[in-house]
């Protein structure tokens, strides 16, 4: 065997640990994709791949011999290589191989101190759904309550740390170190936070108290069966958007759920600068009673007040006060009024102005049809154009706040929902009035 095989116990242990859970890599990459590109530009994507595949291969060729084979067998490489990651990510969330049933028992025993037969009246040994860093099982409590039990994969935290390290290798190729540090810190913080199911449980409680009702349904936590790695909550019996659309729902049905999405975003505006930051279709369930089910409260973003208020202020700026565009976009670190290349800054500001106008166009009519011919295409066009500007821009707090906003738009476009925008507009105006207009 060659000498440069990393052969110390420690190193090999590390490799084994990494190969242990491939999910972390995909998960991190999923978030990073948004940080790094923030858009779905085919050309940028392939450029990224060409440049970086080489780099990664170099890094990984260090792990020759058995360890590398192991990694291949476990197809860790698939998850790490960017082209694979980006393509696979679209469905990856639902295709993670389930934990084997003995490991599920082991984790329950370790976390809750007993076998599933003792803990529940019924526990389904096969997972119902894959979560990003765990999986969800259905079960029935002894009192008959139907629950979802989310079980975290072992070793996720370490995996995230090491995967982020690798991902940084890519990132630093097209952004400055300072930028990368900044964005990565934000992502790292959030990812690690999401591995703490106790924290998620607290957030679930808070949202349940606030939102569970006529329009929205959120699960109720079962505290005595929840720990840092296991989260037991009431089961929401609904379907994901794809399944909902497959049933050919009427326009009215689509509008009703669409309205709930729109309201869910706006109902959060006046709440301690804190928003639900995980607006992807997997986290929403269409309940037969017409309510919008919301699951997964691991990713809640609390922004610094200044950032958040300026973000909301974009509404006012675009709608009524265009003379403040530069001021607000500067405050949000989108443009740099002191930068050397003011030509580029001006171009970027113009771009922001145009994109912002398009993005806010729903607010300009009473009823906006998100299925409107060309709206999704125009949004995509702007997103593509953003790649012309070399470095990713904007405060790190954008990452998660826009995730909610853009995520909601994506869902509404996919639904083809018609939404009454007035209520949202009023909430924004009220909030802005309350906070004053300092940048």
């Amino acid at each position: 065997m060659s000498d440069d095989l990393p052969s110390s116990k420690l190193q090999r242990g590390g490799i084994i640990a990494k190969t242990g859970i491939r999910v972390g890599a995909r998960y991190a990459a999923h978030h990073l994709k948004q940080v790094i590109t923030g858009r779905e530009d085919a050309e940028a994507k392939s450029r990224l791949h060409r440049d970086n595949a080489t780099q990664v291969f170099k890094e990984f060729s260090r792990l020759r011999g058995t360890a590398l084979k192991l990694a291949q067998t476990l197809s860790l490489d698939n998850a790490i290589l960017p082209e694979e990651v980006v393509d696979v990510m679209a469905q990856a969330q639902y295709q993670v191989p389930p934990l084997n049933r003995s490991l599920v028992r082991r984790i329950l025993k370790q976390e809750l101190g007993a076998e599933p037969e003792q803990l529940f009246a019924r526990f389904e040994p096969d997972a119902k759904a894959a979560a990003s860093i765990g999986q969800v099982h259905r079960a029935t409590l002894k009192d008959g309550t139907e629950v979802a039990v989310k079980i975290q994969y072992p070793h996720v935290r370490d995996t995230i740390e090491s995967d982020l390290g690798i991902a940084r290798l890519f990132a630093e190729r097209f952004m400055s170190k300072a930028k990368a540090d900044n964005y990565f810190e934000e992502v790292r913080e959030k990812l690690l936070e999401e591995t703490d199911y106790l924290n998620e449980g607290r957030q679930l409680d808070a949202y349940h108290a606030r939102f569970n009702g006529d329009k929205y349904a959120t699960p109720k936590r079962i505290p005595e069966l929840s720990t840092g790695k296991v989260l037991t909550m009431t089961y929401l019996d609904g379907v994901h958007m794809d399944a909902f659309l497959k049933r050919n729902p009427s326009q009215e049905e689509k509008d009703r759920y669409g309205q709930h999405f729109w309201d869910f975003f706006h109902d959060q505006i006046d709440h301690d600068h804190t928003v639900y930051a995980d607006a992807h279709p997997g986290n929403f369930l269409f309940l037969p009673d017409g309510r919008l089910g919301i699951v997964d409260f691991g990713c809640i973003k609390k922004s610094p007040p200044d950032f958040f208020n300026n973000y909301i202020r974009l509404f006012d700026v675009h709608m009524d006060n265009p003379e403040r565009l530069k001021e607000i976009y500067s405050a949000l670190e989108m443009v740099d009024p002191t930068g050397e290349d003011q030509q580029t800054e001006a171009e970027f500001l113009a771009f922001c102005a145009a994109f912002g106008d398009l993005f806010l166009s729903p607010y300009r009519t009473e009823i906006f049809d998100f299925g409107r011919e060309g709206f999704d295409r125009d949004v995509a066009k702007y997103a593509r154009e953003a790649t012309r500007f070399t470095e990713p821009r904007g405060s790190r707090h954008f990452i998660y706040v826009t995730r909610l906003h853009v995520g909601m738009y994506r869902i509404l476009m996919k639904l083809g929902a018609r939404v009454a925008t007035g209520g949202g507009k009023d909430l924004l105006r009220d909030y802005l009035e309350k906070t004053g207009d300092a940048a």
Binding site: A17, N100, E117, H155
Partner: protein
């Protein structure tokens, strides 16, 4: 139901391990009888010496595990990897329940014994029997699974416990991940019959043993 002889011995051995784990000095026949609720004379029928009970804690592990596996309702539907992993996790559970004792004595009573320890041979027998009765393994693969493979796995079991005792990762995550992946890999090799993977696995186990 009256506990059978095995169960009485198991309870007595666990109490012995618990007392010894707290403080070897306090592990006396009297204290032991007190803790188990058995008369001293009865204890002496179960185990001829105190040390015999402590050793039994380890030598009887395969049977103790086997009895617990029988209680899992869906065990019959488990795949090869799941059965193996369940075996290992159950072993770790039993050891963990007397962790202090195990930390004090595992080397002396298991690793450093001469010849093959019953925990290794009994584990090997379980691994062999489980593979032998698994109809999902195509016959064409069986030549790649000679007996020594299972003996190796039995030995790996002993080493794994030593590794686990040193594993300071959160919730013994390193050990869990290792068990999960090696059993999955073994199953893949056994079910799909990629001979070179099986050879890889052997090498891997061999390297693990040498650590």
């Amino acid at each position: 139901m009256e506990p059978d002889l095995f169960e009485r011995r198991e309870r007595a051995a666990e109490q012995a391990a618990s007392l010894y784990g707290l403080d070897p000095q306090t592990f006396t026949w009297a204290a032991w009888a007190d803790a188990t609720g058995e008369a001293e004379a009865d204890l002496k029928l179960l185990f001829s010496t105190k040390t015999a009970a402590l050793r039994w804690f380890y030598t009887a592990l395969p049977e103790r595990i086997g009895r617990r596996l029988e209680l899992i309702p869906e065990f019959g539907t488990f795949t090869l990897a799941e059965r193996y992993a369940q075996y290992v996790y159950t072993a770790l559970d039993l050891l963990d329940s007397q962790r202090e004792f195990v930390e004090k004595t595992y080397r002396r009573y298991v690793i450093e014994t001469s010849g093959t320890h019953a925990f290794a041979s009994g584990s090997a027998a379980f691994f062999r029997k489980t593979a032998g009765s698994d109809t999902r393994i195509p016959d064409i693969n069986r030549p790649f699974m000679p007996d020594f493979v299972f003996d190796l796995m039995g030995h790996a079991m002993l080493r794994l416990v030593a590794f686990w005792l040193e594993d300071e990762s959160d919730g013994s995550g390193q050990t869990l991940a290792w068990v999960d992946k090696t059993t999955a890999l073994f199953q893949e090799a056994a079910y799909s019959g990629v001979a070179d993977r099986a050879v890889d696995l052997l090498k891997f186990i061999y390297q693990f043993l040498r650590r």
